[in-house]
């Protein structure tokens, strides 16, 4: 029982990282109704740029965070213009496949930047273990968890308390109507990608920093974890992204403890597969689906 609870604590801590990644997916999906598969790889490229600066120039933490986030945003905007803005509005599949094509580009660029398999990623968390009764938590995980909460609160404020936030939600709700309100949807897509990339860059930095190393596989890893967490929670839902991230973290932590790394990975996919079959809307998505149906019936 203690083991299980300890796993759950670890899972929640790590799941908060997944939640951040899922938020990135869910925001873009909510606004554009499209999947950005190259979200993970753009974070990876951002982290590579950060590592490159770390190895060659400076070990200043703030500078590396900045380089990571700015590169992620730049790559995110490149992806947005090429795979989303330029692609026809009615071709959602084309955008998804296109973002995948760019993924391969990004991976190759990263390999040219730093050709080795693994690089150390700067760690700025002092690693200590904190005991709480029979349980223990690593301090870097606590900082990650707290930072996630802060980012989440900021995102919520942005979406529900600011004008750009309102515009973003309007475009997400009815893109055509928002044009008539004088909202420039192209700018909003741009904004959504920028916001998501900032989130992604920070999430990537937190996760890699806790891990203290970076590999080219981080792109694949981040895309998959974010995607799974979003689908588990429900596509396009902010609450869903967070719940999905935490659920994924908890399930993985337990599967790892009782079965090892392979079982951990399989369990994540199995969970996703079952969720999609039994409850495609995810943890909170079902309610939204019904609401939409009711709205449709009335008009």
């Amino acid at each position: 029982m203690t083991d299980f609870l300890q796993n759950c604590i670890d899972g929640v801590m790590f799941g908060s990282g997944y939640a951040l990644l899922a938020l990135g997916f869910t925001l873009v999906f909510g606004v554009m109704k499209r999947l950005n598969l190259s979200f993970g790889p753009s974070i990876m490229l951002g982290a590579y740029a950060g590592t490159w600066v770390y190895l060659n120039f400076s070990q200043n933490a703030l500078l590396i965070v900045l380089v990571t986030v700015i590169t992620t945003v730049a790559v995110g905007i490149y992806v947005e213009r090429l795979c989303f803005w330029a692609v026809r509005r009615d071709a959602a599949i084309a955008s998804m496949v296109s973002s995948f094509a760019i993924w391969m580009q990004l991976e190759e660029v990263a390999m040219h930047l730093l050709p080795e398999r693994t690089y150390p990623f700067p760690t700025f968390f002092t690693s200590t273990v904190i005991d709480i009764g029979p349980f223990f938590v690593r301090s870097e995980h606590i900082s990650m968890f707290l930072l996630t909460l802060v980012l989440l609160a900021l995102l919520h404020l942005f979406l529900f308390r600011t004008r750009p936030g309102l515009a973003l939600r309007a475009v997400s709700d009815n893109p055509l109507a928002s044009t008539y309100m004088g909202i420039n949807s192209s700018n909003i897509f741009f904004l959504a990608f920028a916001v998501v990339s900032v989130l992604g860059g920070l999430a990537g930095f937190l996760i890699l920093s806790a891990d203290s190393q970076v590999t080219p596989f981080f792109g694949l890893w981040a895309t998959f974890k974010g995607l799974i967490a979003m689908m588990l929670g429900g596509m396009g839902s902010l609450t869903g992204a967070i719940l999905g991230g935490l659920l994924l973290g908890v399930v993985e932590a337990n599967a790892f403890w009782y079965g090892g790394p392979l079982i951990r990975d399989i369990s994540a996919y199995l969970l996703l597969f079952i969720m999609l079959i039994v409850r495609p809307g995810g943890l909170v998505g079902q309610r939204i689906v019904t609401q939409q149906q009711a709205a449709y019936e009335r008009v």
């Binding site: 004008r163 309102l166 515009a167 939600r169 309007a170 709700d173 009815n174 055509l176 109507a177 928002s178 044009t179 008539y180 309100m181 004088g182 909202i183 420039n184 939204i288 609401q291 939409q292 009711a294 709205a295 009335r298 008009v299």
Partner: protein, 239 residues
């Protein structure tokens, strides 16, 4: 007030508007009638900047609107109540209304709040449901919301695209009541409508569109005197 001068608009190779002229006068209801595909909605979209015209000019009072961005045109004082209402289904009624004022500058906030109150006074049903999400409203209420939302932009001219589409006769009656009330309060309206009989009741001036061109313009009396037009636009069976 709003002058459309010799506008040509194309969809790819197809010319949807072939040199269209019209004028909407201050304080009047101007109505566009015509068959499907005549270019009525295209005209509204071109004025609103959602489509770009190929040649010609559009002016509102002294402002040249030709090929401004959609956002810019809303800011100049043209608001559109779109076909099929197109409210924001997941956002609350209040958020829908606030979104309507999006093009107004931030310093207008006190005025925006006052306008919101004004809309609620005009449409008490919307106030009752201000926290409900837009998608849960009935068709007629959604149309009211769409009108209220457009008014939040404080437009000089309000363009309405088929406000009666798919609505029950009693609701159509109500919506046209709102239109003529707004007009009496001094709002200039450019109306596209299939329901010619209702439109004739509120319009000051009628434009008939056919194949991207104006084929007739005049006041409702003149239109009712012309038998050919009568038969074509009011329907054979109508009296």
């Amino acid at each position: 007030m709003l002058k459309v001068d010799n506008i040509v608009t194309r969809y790819g190779a197809i010319e949807a508007l072939k040199g269209l002229n019209l004028e909407a006068r201050e304080g009047q209801v101007t109505c566009l009638l015509g068959p499907n595909g005549a270019g009525k909605t295209t005209t509204l979209f071109t004025i609103a900047g959602i489509l770009n015209s190929h040649s010609g000019s559009i002016t509102l009072e002294k402002d040249n609107l030709t090929n401004l961005s959609a956002a810019g045109i809303v800011r100049k004082g043209v608001a559109l109540v779109p076909e099929n209402r197109l409210i924001f289904p997941q956002m609350s009624v209040e958020e829908n209304l606030i979104a309507g004022a999006f093009a107004r500058p931030r310093k207008d906030q006190p005025a925006i709040n006052a306008d919101l109150k004004g809309i609620y006074e005009r449409f008490p049903q919307l106030k009752e449901r201000s926290a409900q999400s837009g998608g849960t409203l009935s068709g007629g209420e959604q149309q009211m919301l769409a009108i209220g939302r457009a008014l939040m932009a404080r437009p000089k001219i309000l363009m309405m695209d088929e406000p009666s589409l798919g609505l029950a006769p009693i609701i159509v009656e109500e919506i046209f009541g709102i239109i003529s009330l707004l007009n009496k309060e001094g709002v200039s309206i450019l109306l596209v409508e299939q329901n010619a009989r209702m439109a004739l009741k509120v319009a000051h001036r009628i434009y008939l569109l056919e194949g991207g061109k104006v084929t007739f313009n005049g006041n409702p009396q003149e239109m009712q005197q012309d038998e050919v037009i009568q038969r074509a636009y009011l329907g054979a069976g109508s009296t």
